[in-house]
């Protein structure tokens, strides 16, 4: 059947590879944090054990180990013990199998540090903020950056001479530095814009003018901190790509043939855009990771803080839940672009049809 449908075969093959990648990534994400000697219960115990005697500390620790499934229990929930009375630890493999079983049922467990919050609750309350900050900044930044880059390459002159060094500078600043600079200039020195949080503390979120205008004001700096970097980075890439395309035979030939300028730019743009599109996929995929920085610098609501605390204190379920999210984002974005490029790029399309 695939013989007659090269496109379908292409998509299925790609999907297969992505599924495999996904499985490997999930496995690694699960095992890596659990390989060290330390475990989250030690961190929890340090927080709550103040002036506990040995007996009390043991009771509390075992209660935690049982709650988080880190020790083996019998059917009644009693902890199984070795001959010397120490609880038998659950092997990582058993934990992994249980995790897979629970995940398939949509249950990602409860956070250890933010106990008793379910991981899904942590992610779902934070994700809208992360997406609302990142997607517009990345997508808008991508379009504007590429537009400006192409323009600079084609027009050259003053625009290019000013724009290119500025873009180079902006994209070379590490994103946390850029964020801190914005906070310092606009928040601390000028006090023009709020730099902390997602909206005024005098409000609760709701669909009303007060909240929306407050949220919009608080949005500006975090948005700019992501947006400007994306614009700078994309513009540089696009400019180089366009300059390269300008020197190619087809552009020169088209010019000699007297093809209209706007048509040439359109052809050129389409060709130069392909690598940039792949870049967009990677950026969108890395969104959750990148969100961390903007959110931490501006105390902006979102996943950042939860991810950071989880990693710092080995909160296994949250780490696994968030890395699952990142993995999914990266893979879905890449898969989409793979497919899109398959349609957009005539060379790939031709190769595929040739195979058939």
């Amino acid at each position: 059947m695939f013989r007659q449908h090269p496109t379908l075969r292409y998509i299925t093959a790609r999907a297969g590879w992505y599924a495999l990648t996904f499985l490997v990534a999930v496995t690694i994400n699960f095992w890596l944090p659990r390989l060290g000697e330390a475990n989250p219960v030690d961190t929890l115990m340090a927080r709550v054990s103040g002036s506990m005697d040995a007996q009390a500390a043991r009771e509390r620790e075992e209660s935690y180990l049982r709650e988080f499934g880190l020790v083996q229990t019998d059917d009644t929930g009693k902890i199984l013990r070795a001959a010397d009375g120490t609880p038998l630890r659950t092997s990582i493999l058993t934990q992994f199998l249980r995790y897979l079983r629970m995940s398939l049922q949509g249950d990602f467990g409860r956070s250890i540090v933010q106990h008793p919050r379910p991981v899904s609750d942590i992610i779902l309350t934070a994700l809208p903020w992360t997406l609302a900050l990142q997607i517009p900044a990345l997508v808008l930044g991508w379009f504007i950056g590429n537009g400006l880059g192409a323009l600079a390459a084609y027009r050259r002159g003053v625009l290019d001479k000013v724009f290119y060094p500025v873009a180079l500078l902006v994209s070379a600043i590490p994103s946390f530095c850029f964020g801190i600079l914005l906070v310092y200039i606009f928040g601390v020195q000028l006090e023009w814009l709020p730099t902390l949080g997602g909206y005024d503390e005098a409000l609760n979120p709701g669909f009303n003018a007060a909240f929306l205008s407050s949220a919009a004001t608080y949005y500006i700096l975090p948005f700019l901190s992501v947006f400007l970097l994306v614009v700078g980075g994309q513009a540089i890439g696009m400019r180089s790509m366009c300059i390269y395309e300008l020197g190619t035979d087809y552009v020169r030939y088209a010019k000699l043939m007297g093809v209209r300028e706007s048509t040439i730019v359109r052809y050129m743009f389409r060709n130069a855009m392909l690598p940039q599109l792949t870049g967009l996929a990677l950026t969108l995929g890395g969104m959750v990771g990148g969100a961390l920085i903007a959110e931490m610098v501006f105390s902006y609501p979102g996943l950042g803080l939860s991810v950071l605390t989880a990693i710092q204190s080995l909160d296994y379920p949250v780490i696994t839940g968030c890395t699952l999210l990142v993995t999914t984002c990266v893979l879905v974005a890449n898969f989409t672009v793979d497919i899109l490029i398959g349609f957009l790029d005539p060379r790939i399309r031709a190769a595929r049809e040739g195979e058939a």
Binding site: A38, M45, A54, Q55, E61, S111, Q114, L196, E201, P301
Partner: protein, 596 residues
Amino acid sequence: MIRRLACAALTLALLLGLSGCTPSGKRATDEFPRHETLRIGIAWGEPNTFNPLHPAPSWPVQQEHTVIYQTLFYFDPEKGTLLPQLGSELRLFPDRIEVDIHEAARWHDGKPVTARDVAYTFNSLYRINPGFPAWQYLSAVDVVDATAERPRTVAFRFRAKDPNPLMVQHWLTLNAILPQHVWEPLLAAAKGDFNELIKHKADQNPIGSGPYRLHSYSAEKIVAERFDAYWGNAALHGGKLPAPRFLIAPVYKSNDHYSLALQQGRIDAANTFIPRIWLKARKGVRAWFDEPPYFPPACMPTAFINHLRAPLNDVRFRRAMAFAINYDDIRELAVSGYSVPHEPGFILPFGVEKRYFNAEDAQRVGTRFDPTRAREELAAGGYRGVFRDGELIETRNAAGERVPTLFIQCPAGWSDWESMVRIMVRGMRTVGIDVREQFVDSTAYYRALPLADFDLIIATPSPVPSPAEPWARFDFVLNSRDWAPAGERMFTNMGRFNRPGSPEYVARFDELLARIPVVTDEAERAALYRELNRLCMEVQPAIPLVYRPKAFYEFNEKVWAGFPTAANPYLPPTVPSQGAGTLMLWHLRPAGGSGP
């Protein structure tokens, strides 16, 4: 097309920018008007649960915080006294403490708070809480006037072995009393399983007995609203209401943000660490003192020493290390100068503990920064440092063998502790002790600490304000009641000092620790403390490094005025929701200014 898009974006940004420039004063649309709201920088992390039985719940339900759930007494660390809260009176007997519940005390639903609630809280809820520390010191909690219609007196009976009235009082200031009529059905629904019970978030109109109730919460902030029918307003505050209608704890993502928000007047009080606080004074940020040390020091970060490892089990080697440390450098460089000059021993030479401190002993047997004495102690123990071109190569012991390099451990990124360790290392290497820094991931640190997987490690004994100080500090460092070998966990005396049955065992330490809590004669108690502190200075079981505040306390009087300070010390320096600091809610007054 692209240009049009860019134009649109620019216009949008400009518009948004303009709306941000409008001055934010009193706006009719505000749900929590700024002039009626006290904002406190205290919520570390997103709210997880408001269940007071949970070991680590969110503000304002966590230990010491008493705006929703109340304890029997407050503790005032500046005066060393208990202040009434739900309990109106405390009577000390040789075998028990009796507490009277205030006759006006009511739950938020109007039902009276009775001695039965107290007994139920301890006997049922805290009893099934695995490892609940108060029960280490109690044998029973019972209602004294059980036949009364509304019993008001409850007895906390000590354990027969090692009775400890000090620690029982300590727990009475920390453990919230909960309403039996609310928690009994919840416990039944959880089938008596504590792990199930603490999954209940208690976030829907929870019933407590305090001056505020939980209003709402999100990942960005927690809001408590004044409960105008609070029983204490009439009974304890002459009919006055707490000044702020709302208490809000915003969730920021780092220390610096609380500091920044405090400078901007966006929050009114905080307990965050603010480096170089004198630079923030011109923005209105103030602390307990307006000059160094800014915060009243109250606890002692200490280098715990692993007594199971040679040569650390040698008192001469330990004293040599203690003599080699420049305590002034630690005070000035590692902790922003938020401290006062250091004296040897485990008793604070100022404040409430001053009456137990003996300057003569400290002068005679204590270890201060003195490299010459450090070298003398080393030489007397047969140790010597091998130097080449002024650089220490190794340390050799009396048998001429190389002593393995020792490491001082602390969590990476805890910059004040890291600085302390660097100063220790520099001092010790100068006198010939081969020691190095060991900065590890905090999870590794938490693992190593109770297992004794360290040479030296930094930790703070007894970090909560307590009527049991300084006993609790000594006990944390010295007690050998639960002595366990390395590899098993000990959450006090992590250095495994004073193993019972070993040749070096000094029974006097444990005798003194058992005796001090039960003596009633103040002169005798002072004598016992003096002896204990002198023994500590002689044996050097661990090295106290510097005095630090137990909690930081800063405020900005842009929106609210009347915060207690050293010049106006009507309450101790804790944020207004924590311990006795809660009482300042009735004393604050609007300052007339408006913060952002």
